[in-house]
Amino acid sequence: MDWLTDNKIPLGDLMETFVNWLVDAAAVFFDFIAITLETIIMALVDVFEWIPPLALIAMIATGAWFLHRSVGLVLFIVAALLLIINLGYWLETIQTLVLVVSATFVSVLFGVPIGIAAAHRPWLYTVLRPILDLMQTIPTFVYLIPTLILFGLGYVPGLISTIIFAIAAPIRLTYLGVSKVPSELLEAGLAFGCTKSKLLYRVELPAAMPSIMAGVTQCIMLSLSMVVIAALVGADGLGKPVVRALNTVNISQGFEAGVAIVLVAIILDRICKTPSSKNEG
């Protein structure tokens, strides 16, 4: 047994060497990404902060009304957001929302095409599946460390970690949706003269849309679940007060911030649910 422990495989050291090498070799590249993303997110936060809170609430409520035509939902959204203002977490909420929406945007931007490609090429999905499993099962704190080293403190490492964690959902559900399109619909598309791209845009994507939308919703919820963890590497938002409350054993602050996160989660979930999936559910 001694032999086994004496000859430790330097797995962790290898990873460290690799990350160090990345930092040395591509510092400019990662700095560029970090600065660009940081600027974009800060700008977005500034814009939403500049809008008077009541006007923003009205905008969100109107949007929800047009999507769902539900008085109850609109009333709930208005009440929940007013409560958040009252508790004093408006700025943090905006920061969180911007982080969640940007992470989701990037995840969907890359995840959906990857999912489509995987559905059309079985070998690609065979390669992707273990990677996706890995991305979702490795404890998030573990890849927080290299992202922190590569991108520095702030929004960006939080955003990148969130994307790594959340992108699996749109990839998987897009793959599922596109590969489950009924063969008769594909045959009908071909029989009436679709080209490959027409088949994708006119048959496969519309048929897979409920599944893709479920992926987007899931992606949003996964991103939201990362806000507290992202706060550990300095991303502003509702996670910050939670972390601070944890460090100072502050029950009241922790509870208030927790309630705010839950409210944001419910609002996002209700808004994102597509009307059709509401009928089915």
């Binding site: 009924p182 008769e184 619909l185 045959e187 009908a188 071909l190 029989a191 009436f192 003269g193 679709c194 080209t195 027409k198 006119r202 048959v203 519309p206 048929a207 849309m209």
Partner: protein, 398 residues
């Protein structure tokens, strides 16, 4: 008659070892044999078929017999492993198994369209949008295609449902949309893959009637897949019967019923209703075979006939003369007088014959151009209803 679809020695194999499989097929290997040796499934084995303009050719067989596979070769949905599938494109014939992407698309948008068993309507499009789907692929302008689709929906009686989604429609209505979508393409050839199988019997028969009616007006060339011989006999002008990947009989409906080529076909025929298919001339006993006694032809069932050459002169029932009346297909059978011997057309449908027999109480004499050809009595009708083997009919009648 000119061929619109010409299938020449087609083999279709599903699997990765098609070279080996083709060798085995040529050596006469059976489907099961080939499957266990190469892992390939033989879909169609050496099929030859010509479908002419205006014909409804019905591909018949049990599931797995290769009928849908053969149908899908005609618009290139199934890859042809060997052989040719020629489809007319104006003056030329295009081989669907061996043409480039653009030609294939041209054939699919302008020459061959298709109706599916489970409708295959896009659930996210409205009824109208579903019908315009193919027209859009033809490159038609939006205004034009909406106009055309509306017109097609009117034809199938669904113009009021244009803005509904397919899942708001009943099965029969959905398949009408499927028909409208295919007819809208204005292609010469229509492929129908068991289009009515998923429908209730009443709706099915109604749609069959509508299809026959549409076909009378539009004169398309239709290849229709069915596993129901009654349906095949009703709508087909030619029936092709397939069994384990091979075509085993190709004939007009009546001949399929009268002369089944194998036991397999016979089994199908045994379960059909012959009323719609059989005609008097294939059931009758010819006049020449009747017994002649005292100058009278003895027709059986107590009826004897006095013939003047081939012209019917008088008819007697149990020795008493009864009047002879001629029936034409446009005369309502209920208005015929009782107790007469009727002269009916030689190609009278069996359904009419049974009804006349029920009404007049006597056997019928078949005529054409005034000349008598044969008699049709209870014996013939019972025989036909029981689906007896018609080849031996004369022996039984004697």
């Amino acid at each position: 008659m000119s061929a619109v679809v010409q299938i020449e020695n087609i083999d279709i194999v599903f699997g990765n070892n098609s070279n080996k499989t083709l060798e085995l097929m040529d050596a006469g290997g059976t489907r099961d044999n080939i499957l266990s040796q190469t892992g390939d499934v033989v879909g169609v084995h050496d099929a030859n078929l010509q479908v002419n303009e205006g014909e409804i050719c019905v591909l018949m067989g049990l599931s797995g017999s290769g009928k849908s596979t053969l149908l899908r070769a005609v618009n290139g949905l199934n890859k042809i492993t060997r052989g040719k599938c020629l489809v007319r494109d104006g003056e030329r014939m295009v081989d669907m198994g061996d043409c480039d992407e653009a030609t294939l698309r041209h054939m699919r948008t302008h020459r061959v369209s298709m109706v599916f068993q489970s409708f295959a309507l896009m659930p996210w499009l409205t009824v109208l949008e579903n019908v315009t789907f193919g027209l859009e692929m033809q490159g038609m302008s939006k205004k034009e295609r909406t106009e055309k689709a509306t017109q097609q929906l009117k034809m199938v009686g669904l113009d009021k449902w244009a803005d509904k989604k397919p899942d708001e429609l009943s099965g029969g209505m959905r398949q009408r949309v499927g028909l409208a979508r295919a007819f809208a393409m204005d292609t010469d050839v229509l492929l129908m893959d068991e289009p009515f199988s998923a429908l209730d019997p009443l709706i099915r028969s109604q749609l069959q009637d509508e299809l026959i009616e549409l076909q009378e007006r539009l004169k398309k060339t239709i290849i229709f897949v069915s596993h129901d011989l009654d349906e095949a006999l009703k709508i087909g002008s030619k029936i092709v019967i397939m069994e384990s990947a091979k075509i085993i009989q190709e004939d007009v409906p009546e001949q399929i019923v009268l002369n089944p080529a194998t036991e397999y076909v016979e089994k199908f025929v045994a379960h059909t209703n012959p009323l719609n298919v059989l005609r008097g001339n294939s059931l009758m006993t010819p006049v020449a075979e009747l017994e002649v006694r005292d100058g009278l032809h003895i027709a059986g069932d107590g009826v004897s006939l006095k013939l003047n050459g081939t012209i019917l002169d008088k008819a007697f029932v149990d020795g008493n003369e009864v009047s002879v009346l001629k029936w034409d297909t446009n005369v309502n059978i209920d208005t015929l007088p009782k107790d007469v011997v009727l002269l009916v057309p030689l190609d009278i449908s069996m359904r009419d014959a049974v009804e006349i027999r029920y009404h007049s109480n006597h056997l019928m004499v078949l005529e054409k151009g005034g000349e008598c050809y044969g008699i049709l009595g209870d014996h013939h009708l019972y025989h036909a209803l029981l689906g007896k083997h018609f080849g031996n009919d004369e022996d039984a009648a004697a």
